[in-house]
Chain length 177, copies 2
Amino acid sequence: MATASAWKDDQVAATKATRNTAKGVHLWLLLWKATRVQEAHARRSVEAMGLCLTDFGVLEALLHKGPLPVNTLGKKILISSGSMTAAIDRLEGQGLVVRKDSPVDRRARIAHLTTKGTDLIQRLFAEHTRDMERAFSCLDGTEKEQLATLLRKVGGEVDGMAPLSDRAHSSKKRGES
Amino acid sequence: MATASAWKDDQVAATKATRNTAKGVHLWLLLWKATRVQEAHARRSVEAMGLCLTDFGVLEALLHKGPLPVNTLGKKILISSGSMTAAIDRLEGQGLVVRKDSPVDRRARIAHLTTKGTDLIQRLFAEHTRDMERAFSCLDGTEKEQLATLLRKVGGEVDGMAPLSDRAHSSKKRGES
DNA sequence: GTGCTGTATCTTGATGTCGAGATAAGTGGC
DNA sequence: GCCACTTATCTCGACATCAAGATACAGCAC
């Protein structure tokens, strides 16, 4: 069956009672599993080049947005500052990025793609694009559109979101919830 | 501005050209970020009880499906056998589950919830249900339905899927119970 | 029974991430 | 200039995951 079996019983129960109590968790489960499945895919192609998924995310962000401070990068791909340092260390060690001092903020280090890094991520990204195209080929155009819209809602204001940690003093100021 | 900014340029380009080349990667990014956001939520409530997300998954599966062999459990929640051993070790150490020998297969160890474990997961699950309900409250009933359907497609035959590793010799042969 | 192949679990080593704390530098008030 | 507060990055310890190999048992053929 196509259903996530862990929930079969609940699903049946929910259907019968037309309750939506279990809907949220159910969606979460589906979201998680779908991601795991695709993640395994993505990881395979990326690890063959000696990168992890995070590294790929970093390179990709640099490719499409240009040089960025380490911290900004971390917020984009939703990982903590500690992990960012490690990630940039890895990439710098492989000669794919370099850290340069910011001209306007002496605390900040700006990550730049090297030529080698640009080459790699461009190839990898093209390949990844094809892979993902295949991965989502089970959906037609309309469905993809729908899914994108729904995920955007669920993901919330992703772009402005703080990473997993370092959110103790998120600039929420005061007016919230 | 709700868009995942890393892709803004591609998105614009894709819209203009009505190409679907970038659609797949875009969806993958959205999927990943939405999951990360929700995962951070889920993790918080679970870690407060001294569990990680995997442990929660194990307990939940046991709660809703009854005692299961370690291996079966691993396939349900999509983690490797090595991680499963570690997970069960953790849970057993906390007195939440116990391993018992299988009456039909002397290789297998069956994980059972203890009373303490049952109590904990029931409370935790109820709480988690509420959290997830809130997390997905931005969607109405129809949208949830749509999302569930789409995710099921993307996740593929999740239920029958092998975990990330240990997939080298998946016995696809023929006789699948 | 013997041998062969596949399965279930555990062991070990490498790696990536988080979280908290440390250091350095920007910001604004006095 | 001096002060407190915030921000950017890094350091370090704890921990979860994976991958590959080891061990024990199952199931079948001969």
